[in-house]
């Protein structure tokens, strides 16, 4: 990050020395981000395009390590706020909004018709009727499967465009188990991967509204609906990789790549890891999570990444201009094509050559039930963590169900007094 900054400063300095006075006249917009190398390059390309179109604005991006950023943002928003900052939608941005550190950008939304163009992301960008975020990318979750493992266990590979139903999926799991292959793998030492599994079971058993209400603390963990989710979870539990609690999701990816597991409930970012491990479009497949309760409108998980205007911004006018650009179909198509994720702007385009992106786009754009952000973004931080520990525990000790539910319920009543 420092390197980039130095490079930028160097460029400015060189321009000044060359006598080009306009370099100083540019209005600066600062942007703090947490990109990995590929997204970073994509963001720089967008900046270049934007600056070409707005020669009097200079966007200065400072990049942070992804994990360090979660900590850093809490400091720089107060101490030394940039104009723009990356973060996440829904409940994850709530503390910053409530502390008055993120600025209301409803005007940007209104002026650019974003309520229309970013329709699927309106709820996750809105707090108390005002918009505080520009969503520019998301990625689908679902089931990735290994065709070689299917072949090894002699299970019929799901046909394209056809979802396997839940009883068949479980019956297949029996066959995988008999063949010594884990039907579903995961590595839950960081907790969140189990939330993906739970969320899907919950969305498929009771639908989107249930998921949202559960995350908001409105539903009792001992209610019949919540129990129904755990009942489905219990059916899946015997087929999940043992010792998942001691390994990371990348460790489990290795198990999957080595044909020792057939399915992986994951986000699309894992495709890169699978392919690095040697998988190709020939043996890696994607399918939607099977329907459980018939007739429920299908909802999907697609965590959204966002960019925000800070309250301490020194150049909010130009920053808003850049935000509008980031919301545009053009910018989103370009950035997401480079990164391999999905644009939130419904007018943007997706690379048709990437089967996972196309299927993801298809999956999400036809999800009539709604788009969930993911358990740990839909629920408040503390509640999210308690929930994930409960899910992980259930997957390790299904017999402790009553205790798990009682504990979760106690946490709920403490955080959301009735």
């Amino acid at each position: 990050m420092k390197l980039l900054k130095t490079a930028l400063l160097g460029t400015v300095a060189a321009a000044v020395m060359a006598g080009a006075a306009f370099a100083q006249d540019k209005r600066v917009v600062t942007w703090n981000a947490d990109y990995d190398p590929i997204p970073l390059a994509a963001a720089e390309a967008l900046i270049a395009d934007f600056e070409a179109a707005n020669p009097d604005i200079d966007i200065q991006l400072t990049n942070f390590d992804h994990e360090a950023y979660k900590n850093a943002i809490r400091n720089f928003l107060t101490a030394d706020a940039p104009d723009l900052a990356n973060w996440y939608a829904a409940n994850r941005m709530r503390p910053f909004v409530e502390a008055g550190l993120f600025a209301d950008i409803s005007d940007v939304w209104a002026a650019n018709g974003l309520t229309e163009a970013l329709a699927s992301s309106v709820p996750s960008s809105t707090i108390d009727g005002k918009q505080y975020a520009i969503p520019y990318t998301y990625y689908q979750w679902g089931i990735y499967y290994n065709r070689d493992a299917y072949a090894a266990a002699g299970v019929e590979v799901p046909a394209a465009d056809a979802t396997v139903d839940w009883p068949t999926f479980l019956a297949n799991c029996e066959k995988f188990k008999a063949a010594g292959i884990d039907c579903v793998t995961t590595g839950s030492s960081a907790l969140w991967p189990v939330a993906g599994i739970f969320d899907y079971l919950s969305l498929r058993t009771n639908g989107y509204q249930f998921h949202a209400d559960l995350a908001a603390g409105k539903i009792s963990w001992t209610s019949p609906e919540a129990r129904a989710v755990f009942a489905e979870f219990a059916k899946l539990q015997p087929f999940v990789t043992a010792n998942h609690a001691a390994i990371d999701w990348q460790d489990a990816a290795a198990i999957f790549v080595q044909d020792k597991a057939a399915h992986y409930v994951m986000g699309n970012f894992a495709v890169g890891v699978f392919k690095e491990g040697g998988m190709t479009n020939d043996n890696l497949g994607f399918m939607m999570f099977p329907e459980i309760t018939a007739g429920i409108a299908r909802a999907e998980e697609a965590p959204t990444d966002t960019i925000h205007l800070t309250s301490g911004a020194k150049n909010p006018e130009d920053a808003k201009k850049f935000l509008a650009y980031m919301a545009s179909a053009e910018a989103q198509s370009k950035w997401n094509a480079a990164v391999g994720q999905l644009p939130t702007n419904k007018n943007a385009t997706v690379d048709p050559a990437d089967p996972f992106l196309s299927e993801g786009f298809q999956t999400l754009s036809t999800a009539t039930g709604g788009i969930a952000q993911f358990w740990d973004r839909d629920a408040d931080a503390e509640y999210a963590k308690a929930g994930m520990e409960g899910f992980q525990r259930f997957l390790v000790q299904p017999e402790a169900l009553e205790e798990i539910l009682a504990q979760l319920e106690a946490t709920r009543l403490r955080l959301y007094p009735q």
Partner: protein, 314 residues
């Protein structure tokens, strides 16, 4: 650098001041820089943490740099009483305290084993001490690898003996013991070196006299040697208790408190609540820290009391 400038200042003062005054002033001048630093970074933060434990604060300041916390009285402490994660942490701390004490007999055992004058014994002693010198982060990584499912040495060993491997760090009932074992490794080394030094200073006359009286083996150890090792034992208890209560690094590196919080200890839980990804409850974290501090104070008071006794006896 601080040394040069500060003592320079005190020298300048001492030349002007009359002698009787100089002797009264000098200790405070010598103490000033050290006490200043210690007050700012250690004593005052304790007071601040205790205050903070009565607030609900997410660690954020608003745009004007104002503290956004809210006074909640005893609410954080009341919440601790019903918080199952806190209860687990407390129990685990107790396990740490009790099992860490194993470092004493084991360290003594190794010390006795090594307290010989054969060729190369010095290098043996150094190598046995080795685990204490390396960082707990490294110890944690070493043991994580040792326990790793499917290919860890211990996993394979158990698989070979029992037919089925045990992933210690994934098992909620075993995980704390697994981490404690990792912590004991360097701790035993530390206790060993304390006892080796102690054994070196055991009076040979008393041992000989006891031998003539027919004492040997366990009896000799219990009635003659151990009483003389009392200072070493005292220090060993202190450092072991502190080591047990400070057990942050290993938990953080090996399990991050998991699976589902089973290996949390107070020191880690506090960090998780205050600075963890789902935390930023500074006040609640502070309350946990105050409880940990209170537990530690029991031992600190004991230590200070003994030092006080020693000082006044002199």
């Amino acid at each position: 650098m601080a040394l040069a400038t500060d003592s320079g200042a005190s020298a300048a003062v001492s030349q002007k001041a009359p002698r009787w005054n100089q002797k009264n002033l000098a200790p405070w001048l010598f103490l000033a820089p050290g006490m200043f630093m210690f007050t700012v970074y250690v004593l005052w933060p304790i007071v601040e943490s205790i205050t903070l434990s009565f607030y609900d604060w997410n660690g954020l300041y608003n745009r004007d740099g104002e503290f956004t916390g809210r006074f909640v009285g005893m609410a954080n402490y009341r919440e601790l009483l019903i918080d199952p994660a806190f209860e687990t942490s407390l129990w685990n701390n107790l396990k740490w305290l009790v099992l860490y004490m194993l470092a004493l007999p084991l360290g003594l055992f190794i010390a006795i084993f090594l307290n010989q004058t054969v060729r190369g014994i010095r290098i043996y002693k150094s190598l046995f001490f080795f685990p204490f010198v390396i960082s707990q982060v490294v110890v944690g990584l070493i043991f994580a690898w040792f326990y790793a499912p499917n290919f860890g040495l211990l996993y394979l060993l158990i698989e070979w003996l029992a037919g089925k491997g045990v992933a210690i760090l994934a098992d909620p009932d075993l995980v704390t013991y697994g981490i404690i074992a990792a912590g004991l490794w360097p701790q035993i080394a530390y206790v060993m070196i304390l006892y080796l030094t102690g054994l070196n200073n055991v009076s040979p006359d008393q041992i000989e006299a006891a031998r003539l009286d027919g004492a040997k083996g366990w009896k000799m150890l219990w009635y003659v040697v151990l009483p003389q090792l009392r200072p070493a034992t005292f220090i060993a208890v202190i450092v072991t208790v502190i080591g047990a209560l400070r057990s942050f690094d290993l938990v953080s590196i090996m399990t991050s408190g998991g699976p589902f919080g089973s290996s949390r200890v107070l020191s880690y839980y506090m960090f998780e609540m205050a600075l963890g990804e789902f935390g930023f409850r500074m006040g609640y974290g502070a309350a946990i820290a105050v409880v940990l501090f209170a537990i530690m104070m029991i031992f600190i008071s004991g230590f200070i009391w003994k030092m006080w006794r020693d000082e006044t006896e002199r």
